[in-house]
């Protein structure tokens, strides 16, 4: 099986809260396949339906109509709920509200305890997960002593310990400072690269989306763009019209294009932009000293 996530004509409507209000259709027909090992960013502004979509991947919400299959399990199949949740781990936005225990390592073990994993194996999986997110030395700390980025990494470790096929992160960096965002993003990308874990990253930060292998843009409950980041971000007008940012270098390339100077519209990295501008000014890239002050990776 090639696709780990298959979404077919997914509709979802929140029921009316009281007699005066109307039921709100949040997802209006989503078709999406995600392959094993992909890292996919779902980009959209608040209210675009991206978080609602994420909640369907873990059976927190069930489709009003249509079908969602994760790792071959229909999310509507209640008898396989734990199996589903074990194969699709979820990380939420607020780091404080998803940590259950007052000790880091016990929190990482929480899912394993629930699943009845024997002690010896649990100990090993917890330690491995803590090392993978670089939090092993904090294993006996209390979560209240940690920074936001560290708490999110603990939450990620809790998911990794379940050894899921795929990890869904619902705006994991929205409440973090730039340092915390970097830490979390690096950890997520590492899981994708080194463990081949499928990543679905819900975000409204385009810098984060640009680091994923594929970007799905949502607006008003529909998928409007889907493809490699450079293709998606080159649609500057579409993105701006739905209230999203594009990387500054992409925006500059687009602005210059509008003024009649063509540099590649698919510029998403600083390196590409620097070289395009050097070419524009008729200067060939000169040989660089080994030490370069690119900060592209950290971005």
């Amino acid at each position: 099986m090639d696709n780990i996530i298959e979404i077919r004509d997914l509709h979802f409507t929140y029921p009316a809260e009281d007699e005066d209000s109307q039921p709100a259709e949040v997802l209006k027909g989503i078709d999406l396949d995600i392959k094993k090992g992909e890292s996919v960013a779902v980009l959209g502004h608040n209210g675009s339906g991206k978080s609602t979509l994420a909640k369907h991947l873990n059976a927190i919400l069930l489709p009003t109509s249509g079908k969602v299959t994760v790792n071959g399990i229909d999310t509507a199949d209640e008898s396989r709920l734990f199996e589903l949740r074990q194969s699709a781990g979820m990380v939420f936005q607020n780091p404080d509200n998803q940590i259950v225990s007052s000790i880091v390592e016990e929190d990482v073990a929480f899912a394993l305890e629930n699943l009845g994993v024997p002690y010896e194996e649990m100990r090993k999986r917890v330690d491995d997960a803590l090392r993978a997110v670089n939090m092993y030395e904090y294993r006996l700390h209390s979560p209240s002593q940690l920074s936001g980025g560290q708490k999110q990494r603990v939450a990620i470790a809790g998911v990794i310990a379940m050894e899921p096929e795929c990890m869904i992160l619902d705006e994991p960096t929205a409440m973090l400072d730039p340092q915390g965002r970097k830490e979390v993003l690096a950890t997520v990308q590492k899981m994708n690269r080194e463990k081949g874990m499928t990543i679905v990253l819900i975000t409204h930060y385009m810098e984060e989306a640009a680091q994923c292998g594929r970007v799905v843009v949502m607006d008003k409950g529909r998928v409007v763009l889907d493809g490699k980041p450079e293709k998606v971000f080159s649609q500057v007008e579409t993105l701006k019209s739905i209230g999203l940012d594009v990387p500054q270098v992409t925006e500059l390339a687009w602005e210059l294009e509008q003024a009649g100077f063509s540099i590649s519209p698919e510029t998403i990295s600083e390196e590409e932009c620097v070289e395009a501008l050097m070419r524009l000014f008729g200067r060939l890239p000169v040989n660089l000293p080994a030490q370069s002050n690119y900060t592209d990776k950290e971005q």
């Binding site: 873990n58 927190i60 734990f82 949740r85 074990q86 781990g89 979820m90 939420f92 607020n94 404080d96 509200n97 998803q98 940590i99 259950v100 225990s101 007052s102 000790i103 390592e105 016990e106 073990a109 929480f110 899912a111 394993l112 305890e113 629930n114 699943l115 009845g116 994993v117 024997p118 002690y119 649990m122 100990r123 917890v126 209390s142 979560p143 209240s144 809790g158 379940m162």
Partner: protein, 268 residues
């Protein structure tokens, strides 16, 4: 501000008492309480005092900390002493003024009561000072686990307790923030008339309640996503293992209890 308040009064350390199995520590503490209340003579109390002193020394925590634990109960101690001092009328009269009189028996009983209460507080403090609240909760859950057969929700209560412990620091920090934010809007929390203060208290409690409900809701979802399904079939990362020292500690405690009972029987 609020952040400075310590909760649980746990002092991390690595003393013999710190390392005892928390289940044994709870049982020992219960036996200790029984010991103090079994004896009704000064001799019995002396045995209890020796046992207490032993625990305090072995815990490796400064005596000052234990004395601190008594301070909040000072008014209660003083009242108990005064009541016994003036209301016990048997024994030799040592002093009297109008209808008030102090008897030798009164002095004896007052001293006895105060010593007993002080020992009780200091001795039980050993348990909370050397055991983290979360370990304590865990140990209670396991000690009470036989009650599960009677459908007593042992696991659920322990889970509630540990979540409460987890969120106390978070909520304190949040309360601090809300107080600052409302102060910035001119709310008077620590001054002003009673009605304005009560009103301003609402400006703190409402946001705190709303945020707590939101947290509870999100936490519940997060727990479900991590396959939480009650206590059935759960395994634990935290392993409680009893060692020889636990049995020795228990034996010593029982020995002291036996001593007190013996003294009581022979009437010393």
């Amino acid at each position: 501000m609020l952040k400075d308040i310590t909760i649980g009064q746990y002092f991390p350390g690595n003393s013999v008492i710190h390392r005892l199995d928390p289940r044994f520590k709870i049982v020992i503490t219960i036996i200790y309480i029984v010991m103090l209340f079994t004896g009704d003579s000064m001799a019995c109390l002396a045995v209890g005092a020796v046992f207490t002193a032993m625990m305090l020394v072995l815990s490796g925590i400064k005596l000052k900390m234990y004395l601190k634990s008594i301070r909040p109960l000072m008014p209660f101690l003083v009242i108990t002493a005064l009541i016994n001092l003036f209301l016990v009328s048997s024994g030799e009269v040592l002093w009297h003024w109008k209808f008030l009189k102090i008897t030798s028996e009164g002095v004896n009983i007052s001293v006895f009561m105060i010593v007993r209460i002080v020992l009780l507080i200091m001795g039980t403090s050993v348990l909370t000072y050397t055991t983290s609240p979360i370990t304590l909760t865990d140990a209670i859950e396991r000690l009470l686990s036989p009650l599960k057969k009677l459908r007593f929700p042992v696991h659920e209560l322990a889970m509630m307790m540990s979540i409460a412990l987890r969120f106390i620091p978070t909520l304190i920090e949040e309360t601090d923030k809300i107080i600052s934010a409302q102060k910035a809007r001119g709310a008077e929390i620590d001054s002003g008339s009673f009605t304005t203060r009560a009103r301003n208290l609402i400006s703190i409690l409402v946001p705190l309640f709303i945020s707590s409900f939101r947290r509870a809701d999100e936490l519940a979802t997060a727990m479900e996503c991590r396959c939480y399904n009650g206590g059935e079939g759960r395994t634990r990362l935290r392993q409680l293992k009893s060692a020889p020292r636990d049995y020795i500690a228990l034996a010593v405690t029982l020995l002291f209890l036996a001593g007190v009972i013996t003294l009581k029987i022979i009437g010393i």
